[in-house]
Symmetry: C2
Subunit: 258 residues, 2 copies
Amino acid sequence: MSEMSSETKKDPLFTGTLAKGIRILRAFDEQNVRLSLAELVQRTGLEKSAVQRLAHTLHREGMLNKDPVTRRFSPSHAWLELAYAYYWSDPLIARALPRLIGLSRTIGETVNLAQMSGDHIIYSLRLPNQRTHFAASIVGRRLPAIATAAGRVMLSTWPEAEADRAIDLWPIAPMTPKTVTDRDQIRADVRLAAQNGYAMTRNQMILNEVSIAAPVHGVAGPAEAAVQVSLSAHSYDETRIQEEILPALLDTANGILA
Amino acid sequence: MSEMSSETKKDPLFTGTLAKGIRILRAFDEQNVRLSLAELVQRTGLEKSAVQRLAHTLHREGMLNKDPVTRRFSPSHAWLELAYAYYWSDPLIARALPRLIGLSRTIGETVNLAQMSGDHIIYSLRLPNQRTHFAASIVGRRLPAIATAAGRVMLSTWPEAEADRAIDLWPIAPMTPKTVTDRDQIRADVRLAAQNGYAMTRNQMILNEVSIAAPVHGVAGPAEAAVQVSLSAHSYDETRIQEEILPALLDTANGILA
DNA sequence: ATAAGCCGTATTGTATAGTGATACATGAGA
DNA sequence: TCTCATGTATCACTATACAATACGGCTTAT
């Protein structure tokens, strides 16, 4: 009767109530920061009664704050505690963090650790500087993988067939007028990254931004992650990048291997 | 029949299934990073069948990874996405971040933003340096409020009766041999913080660590948060702290007011 | 002023969906 | 080879989540 029929079709271990509750948590994002009951109904597509019950439960469990006057829900500190648990669970984080800090001190520019997450990348560590704008300063941000230097350099370590499939099928969300949407151009860029051992993009997310990424290799096979640096094109010409940034970046990424 | 009878007693809006699912998420922490079904049963106190169903659902919803060979569950990237949403939801974060970065550059030492969360503080922003150890580098960490400089300086802005109650009742978890557990001593320290406008502790979490915190005031009334700096007692004597650290710290904390 | 909407909250009969017990399968250790 | 612990699958039962609806407070329009 609903649109989830195909997904839910006879999985006797699937508990719909919990899934709905998770959908409520997921309704919050950078544009939806404080949601009323009615807005939650709209964003989740659930029944008003269901949202009432589930949001109430999440509130009582400490997962949602509720403003006593506006009656709006918002994320609670528990969401940060979950991030804390995540950080401990991923061994890459502890290996990468001290080296990223070193890189950040050396070059004095924004440094990130990105991981592949489906067809997106997700930033799991970020070391912003004062010029970095807010969205680029906080962890957990997702971007379409093949539209980013980090995503491309990771793909460049994949078996060619899989990488090609990804380049053909994965989404691209144009962020600036200069965002590349031509998949053959992306394919060429991934090939180039395979040769160079790093990937570089310009003006893809923000105008006048140069993004450079190097792969973090696992024991063998595809890259586990990528170390990525953002620079202003105004401050860094090609030779400065080659001489000041790249050696330090590649050194950092290689050092994380463990 | 279960131990939740007092909590659940007749709240017709409370959905137990969702609450149980949340308990599964909460079972992961810094010491429990990768949990088997049996361990989840043990840690949550739920029935094996329930854990089987709920963990399966969380896995299908992308909230838990499942290692195909060890069959263990672990936090997924979605946990970082939730943190991302939290960061956008709390307006203090965007106000504080650039100033914290500035402070970090100025003094070259570890800088944190802490907020009150029940009877604990939680670190919501952290700017570590290379010497910072891992647990002190990642957001979402909670510590007993009255055992920390940040917690005490926030309490020092509370109405005296409430602060006294907190000092009497809130938990203290001794972390080092020198952790202060005498509540009258803590009370004196809070009073001193009220006079000075900052709080300082030594050897409370780690030996030879000096922790200094200044309050971030709201429009009026109690502090919204605290800016906190960690130093090595070996590198900073009292006069260096007074001259090099405190002015910058207080300036930063005051500047966040907005 | 009054009415109409909208929204959050409370209530209730009903059947569905989660429950818990149990059985089965697999792999590790003794 | 046996035993035990653990993960997975199945199933009858009924407790529990469900959707509909009613109520009351607040804002907006007329």
